[in-house]
């Protein structure tokens, strides 16, 4: 960890050199090997010029240099994956805050620049730069090693890693950033890192599979959930032909792989909910199952969004009237989604009340896409009222 900046500089230098030389001379036979060899040599140069290094152990290096230079770099996919996994565990260390873990993962594991990260977080470059620098300093101070934790510790540490990947994915999936390509990249990167966990024997746990399954189900709807203008299309209005069948099948595969052991995680429950959503048709069975999964999810951990989603499922399974009574107990009147939910629950029961709640939601909503959806709903209800 102490040479992290140096390593980053070397990588930028190497890519700069590559863009210059490859442009002139054409692609080398094995570009990956070329990049590794050049960066290895640059790293050795750096170490040679490093003052402490020269004073303390330069003698020894002279003795062994010939050996160092001859060391073959292991370029197998396995070795590259293993190194990335070790780095993932080092970055997702509980000693730094979660938002820094996500930032560092994007920066170091996914190669995102500070500007892109700032864009994804709807923040500015300075804030992100400071956050990353502080996090790197902390990892150095704590002398965090780039290695997989021991068997006894790995499950606990894996929890932090999974949380970071979950948030990374959510950042891409739910972010209000207008940059659709970037948001999709975040989701793809979260899935790539999660896949590495599943492909490694030590980290291939039911929880890791459940999270990957959840990501597959959600991303299967990526193309269907926005229109050409980048506006959100709600689930019930989506064209299911645009849902990615291959990802749905992958989701089912990892959900099956997750059904071992005796512990149920929120990832399992959320993946199962997402699974039921891959059947568009409204059946009694579907919504009853979704409701029971939400009941369990809330018992594991409370969250306002899950409470609202559970109430929506309740309206589908047990009827709108019961859902309205339940919604009013939730005590979430400051949340635009709460009023938006009551708006849809009151629709066709009491349209005046429905419009009233949608208008409150409109004043509370923060993003343009959210406001547009609400405006459309209000217009629609007013048309029904006037006819």
């Amino acid at each position: 960890m102490e040479h992290l900046e140096m390593a980053e500089d070397i990588v930028s230098d190497t890519f700069l050199l590559a863009s210059e030389t490859w442009g002139l001379k054409g692609l080398p036979k094995n570009p990956t090997a070329w990049l590794y060899t050049v960066s290895k040599n640059k790293a050795l140069d750096f170490l040679k010029h490093n003052k402490i290094f020269t004073e303390k152990i330069s003698f020894e290096i002279k003795q062994t240099q010939s050996i160092v230079n001859e060391t073959e770099i292991d370029l197998s996919n396995k070795n590259i994956n293993d190194s990335q996994l070790q780095m993932m565990f080092a970055i997702c260390h509980p000693c730094i805050p979660t938002e820094s873990q996500i930032g560092l993962s994007l920066n170091i594991l996914c190669g995102f620049g500070v500007e892109e990260i700032a864009d994804a977080f709807l923040s500015n470059k300075e804030t992100i730069y400071k956050r990353l620098t502080r996090a790197k300093e902390k990892l150095r101070e704590e002398k965090i090693k780039i290695e997989l934790p021991g068997q006894s510790e790995i499950n606990k540490r894996l929890e932090t890693v999974l949380t970071t990947l979950y948030l990374l994915f959510s950042e891409g999936y739910y972010s209000t950033s207008q940059n659709t390509t970037l948001r999709k990249d975040l989701c793809v990167e979260a899935m790539r890192l999660n896949l590495m966990l599943v492909e490694n024997e030590q980290t291939n746990t039911p929880f890791a599979n459940a999270l990957l399954s959840l990501m597959c189900f959600h991303s299967s709807r990526f193309e269907a959930r926005t229109n050409q203008n980048g506006e959100i299309i709600l689930y019930e209005d989506q064209d299911e032909l645009l849902w990615n069948k291959e990802l749905i099948e992958k989701g089912e595969h990892y959900l099956n792989a997750a059904s071992f052991g005796n512990k149920l995680s929120n990832y399992h429950l959320e993946a199962a909910i997402a699974y039921w959503h891959t059947n568009k048709a409204d059946t009694k069975d579907k919504w009853e199952n979704i409701l029971q999964l939400y009941n369990k999810l809330l018992q594991l951990e409370y969250s306002p969004i899950v409470a609202l989603n559970r109430t929506y499922a309740l309206s589908k399974a047990n009827g709108k009237q019961e859902a309205i009574t339940e919604a009013e107990k939730l005590n979430l009147s400051g949340n635009h989604l709460y009023h938006s939910l009551l708006g849809s629950l009151y629709k066709d029961i009491n349209n005046t009340k429905a419009i009233h709640h949608l208008q409150i939601a409109l004043t509370l909503a923060k993003t343009i896409p959210d406001k547009n959806i609400l405006l459309k709903k209000i217009q629609h209800l007013e048309q029904i009222k006037n006819n």
């Binding site: 029971q292 009941n295 809330l298 018992q299 559970r310 339940e326 107990k329 939730l330 005590n331």
Partner: protein
């Protein structure tokens, strides 16, 4: 917010009062919906446990008797812990408990925090 223990009791002695497996199955949904409702209000602290009808009671003199402790004819069937502003609110929340539909009752007790 304070925490309250809800203890569910029902008739465990009268044979006719015992629910059939089908009835037990049918009871699952209202229970899960009620617990989900409490959890959605962020008022469920601990989902507690259901208790098996088997049990033993150890009395002074190390006398062990079979069967759960039964005063009148009601035995404890399970418990959960909830969060509420007051005893009144905790009792109010208990009014939707499905055990009331089969003649059982809910005892509401405030937890005394450990110092």
């Amino acid at each position: 917010m304070k925490e309250f223990l809800l203890v569910f009791r029902r008739d465990a002695v009268t044979r006719e009062a015992a629910p059939s497996p089908e009835q037990m199955q049918a009871m699952m949904k209202p229970w899960q919906d009620w617990m989900g409702s409490l959890a959605a209000q962020n008022k469920l602290v601990n989902s507690g446990n259901r208790l098996s009808s088997e049990g033993k009671v150890v009395k002074p003199g190390k006398v062990v008797t079979d069967g759960p402790y039964v005063e009148t004819k009601e035995a404890i069937g399970g418990y959960i812990i909830i969060r509420a502003e007051s005893m009144e609110e905790a009792a109010e929340l208990s009014k939707d408990c499905p055990i009331l539909q089969i003649g059982g009752n809910v005892e509401v007790r405030a937890l005394v925090p450990m110092d």
